[in-house]
């Protein structure tokens, strides 16, 4: 079958061929059988052998070197029978149809839900994680669903979504699974979105530029102390990721959760904004989100709305064009305004798009093209 044949096949044909593919792979027996509620043993990528013979994961700066039977810090990869394996390949613990605005991805085809998936584990340990029930767990501790990449694609087509989001926890920890899904998604005309904390090594990240259409990166704080204390990582790697994605030309949006007393001071905000503009420019959409007490930071209050507004105003005053506030429904900062003429071009309430006047991402009044990925030629077009 040629590439052209594959792309033009109808759903019935796709289902038939998927079933054949699945059957064939089982018959060949070269792929591990997947079962829910257990670990997979899928060969892990980005593994190098150290001088002493031990295996080290080089997916992220954690650079784990687990002993036999142990897992890496992310809990999603580990050493089994002398081999470094992915424990979560084909075992998502969350599958949902979610609006892309929840990621948050605003400069994308509006009114377009995505199929979002996640596995157990994460390479960061954010003290405020709102998905800690599975991000801070290994796959053996969560309820998982057995899904091959092709099965997920079939589901996505069945639901008529236009994109697949790797979401809720750090997707880099299941890079093998993500890549296989993304390859099939590309062939099925589905867009892919990676929502990441950005704590990734450059090499595996570069490999993803071929497969992932859009990135949402959590720029969680604006200095290294915050990253070390609250996130369990380092800011330098995240900044590097942001620069690499920007350089790749892929669409990117950035989200920063502002936590009272932790990363919301005027000084920190100014540092963050200065770095952002100097390295990423003024076109990249930036979302300031409201923190709600979660996980280990239940002792802190929710972020006051005034702080979010202040951050937004500071960023706009510094020259940024698309700055949003999130988790505070009903506010002006939830909408998209044309930087050319100031017209409100997309109006939102929470994660719902109430009104959009964009046409292929262009302002109807001044014709300015908004950065983003706009799919008006697809069904479920602009509302």
């Amino acid at each position: 079958m040629t590439k052209k044949d594959f792309c033009s096949m109808n759903r019935r044909k796709f289902l038939q061929s998927s079933a054949l593919m699945a059957g064939a792979s089982l018959w060949r027996g070269d792929l591990p059988l997947l079962a829910a509620d257990s670990e997979s043993r899928f060969p892990a990528e980005s593994i190098r052998t150290l001088a002493d013979g031990r295996l080290q994961c080089s997916l992220c700066p954690n650079a784990c070197v687990p002993a036999e039977g142990e897992n890496g810090l992310c809990r999603a990869r580990g050493l089994r029978d002398g081999k470094y394996v992915s424990l979560v390949y084909g075992l998502p613990c969350v599958i949902a149809i979610d609006p892309v605005e929840k990621m948050p991805l605003f400069h994308y085809h509006v009114n377009s839900p995505a199929m979002a998936i996640s596995t157990a584990g994460c390479n960061l340990t954010c003290q405020y994680c709102q998905n800690w029930q599975f991000s801070q767990k290994s796959p053996a501790e969560t309820t998982n669903f057995s899904f091959r990449p092709e099965e997920l694609i079939v589901r996505a087509l069945d639901f008529q979504v236009q994109s697949i989001g790797f979401f809720y926890t750090e997707p880099i920890i299941y890079i093998e699974f993500m890549k296989d899904i993304a390859r099939l998604a590309r062939k099925s005309n589905l867009k892919t979105i990676m929502v990441t904390g950005g704590y990734i090594s450059p090499e595996p990240l570069r490999e993803l530029f071929e497969l992932i259409d859009m990135f949402v990166v959590g720029f969680k704080g604006f200095n290294d102390e915050f990253y070390k204390e609250v996130i369990g990582g380092g800011i330098e790697h995240v900044q590097n990721t942001l620069k690499l994605i920007k350089g790749s030309g892929r669409h990117m949006e950035v989200v920063s959760l502002l936590i009272p007393g932790k990363n919301d001071s005027e000084e920190q905000l100014k540092t963050g904004i200065d770095w952002f503009i100097a390295n990423l420019g003024t076109d990249v959409p930036w979302h300031f989100s409201r923190f709600a007490p979660e996980f280990k930071l239940k002792n802190l209050p929710p972020t006051p709305n005034t702080i979010l507004e202040k951050a937004r105003k500071m960023a706009l005053a510094a020259g940024m064009k698309f700055v949003y506030t999130g988790n505070n429904p009903g506010q002006e900062g939830n909408h998209t305004y044309c930087p050319g003429c100031g017209k409100k071009v997309v109006e939102r309430l929470g994660f719902k798009v109430m009104r959009s006047v964009l046409s292929r991402g262009k302002c109807p009044d001044c014709g300015l093209q908004m950065p983003g990925v706009w799919l008006d030629d697809l069904p479920n077009g602009n509302i």
């Binding site: 280990k296 006051p304 939830n334």
Partner: protein
């Protein structure tokens, strides 16, 4: 003289408790209104300019009410009204009291003054409408007066959060996770209980309508229970939302140009009391940076053994009125089902106040009008038709965003 003093003492002593009781009930009503208003304020995120201006308008509305009250008092209508009341005990139909014409005239004057007041208040309400963003108005229209707002109103699902947003998710989970044996025993009673919640909001249904909805609910519950796990995971938000067949966004207004829901909250005497303190607390010179006080500075130490789902608070109003009658005598698991699991499953719904019932009991009429943007009355027929459309899946797929009362 002695008789007169005794009579006075009797009247004074007798009247004190009555007055106190009346004051007490009125005060309770006022507090319920204030609680409800605060619930709106906590979900609508007014900025400083909005909060200050609305507080100003609420104070002006109070002044206008006081002026109108004084003007109506200035009509000195009371003796005429009393005279008419007294004469009606004995007046013949063919010879009605002469004072009736005067009373009608005075009533019209009072009505005119009230109408003018309402007109001014409606103008102020227009200003509030322009002050609020479109999104805030949307949140507001979906809000119902309540003591406990829906969980999702106070704490909506956030960016990046995997949680399903529906307030009915716990109910959906209970339906799905109850064992076959328990479901056979209690399932129908539980669904009937949900139907009662619907009736509380929609008004009493006819027997046929209730039976029809009951059948639909059974079918829907069957779907929830039998759906494959992965399909359930993907569809759960929608399945949950379809459980409660209520659309609260329909209502009415009438009369002169009268006021609507915005005025009912933001221009009320309660607003005049609550908003100045709200402004002082959140935007005053000594206002803390945050809206809530910091409880402690150290991070909470959580062990890895915490349950995946934290228990929700239990709502007393969700107690079943008539637990399954066929299940007697109840075993421990029956008790657990009705006393723990069922209340928990409905705990995310809002607690609307019973204050109107209390007022009824004390002989006062208290309007519990719920206004929609169109300000029309609740239309039960449309509501039930809507429910049918939802259940037969004729409505297009709706993923999470807004459930009623959810920002």
């Amino acid at each position: 003289m002695k008789k007169f003093i005794l009579l006075m003492m009797f009247l004074v002593l007798g009247s004190v408790p009555v007055l106190k009781a009346a004051d007490y009930i009125d005060r309770m009503g006022d507090l319920v209104e204030e609680i409800s208003l605060l619930n709106v304020l906590r979900g609508i995120y007014l900025n400083e300019q909005q909060a200050k201006r609305i507080a100003q308008l609420a104070a002006e509305a109070e002044k206008l009410r006081a002026t109108t009250r004084a003007e109506i008092e200035g009509l000195a209508a009371m003796p005429h009204f009393e005279q008419l009341r007294d004469e009606l005990y004995t007046a013949l139909a063919e010879n009605p009291p002469e004072v009736r014409k005067k009373v009608v005239l005075l009533d019209n004057q009072a009505h005119k003054l009230t109408g003018e007041l309402l007109d001014k208040l409606a103008g102020m309400e227009e200003e509030i409408k322009t002050l609020l963003s479109h999104g805030q108005q949307n949140i507001f229209w979906a809000f119902v007066p309540c003591i406990v707002p829906e969980v999702d109103f106070e704490n909506p699902v956030r960016t990046g959060q995997a949680a399903a947003s529906s307030r009915l998710m716990p109910a959906c989970e209970l339906i799905r996770n109850t064992s076959e044996e328990m479901w056979k025993k209690h399932g129908q009673a539980y669904l009937d209980h949900i139907l009662k919640v619907i009736e509380q909001d929609a008004g009493k249904m006819t027997g046929d309508t209730r039976e029809d909805l009951r059948r639909r609910m059974v079918k829907h519950a069957w779907k929830i229970r039998k759906m494959p796990e992965a399909d359930y995971m993907i569809n759960r938000s929608q399945l949950a939302e379809e459980l409660l067949l209520i659309n609260r966004e329909q209502t009415l207004r009438s009369g002169f140009r009268t006021t609507g829901k915005l005025a009912r909250f933001f221009l009320s005497p309660s607003a005049a009391r609550v908003l100045p303190r709200w402004v002082e607390t959140h935007f005053g010179p000594g206002a803390p940076v945050s809206s809530e006080p910091v409880i402690a500075s150290a991070p909470v130490d959580l062990t890895g053994s915490m349950p995946a789902v934290l228990p929700d608070k239990i709502s007393p109003a969700a107690q079943p009125a008539n637990a399954d009658q066929s299940a007697k005598p109840q075993t421990d698991s029956d008790k657990e089902f009705w006393e723990t699991l069922v209340p928990k499953s409905l705990a995310r719904l809002s607690e609307t106040p019973y204050f109107d019932h209390i007022y009824h009991a004390f002989g006062k009429s208290f309007s519990r009008s719920i206004f929609a943007e169109e300000n029309s009355y609740v239309d039960t027929f449309t509501l039930l038709k809507e429910a049918g459309v939802i259940l037969t899946r004729e409505r297009e797929q709706q993923y999470y965003t807004l459930t009623q009362g959810e920002p």
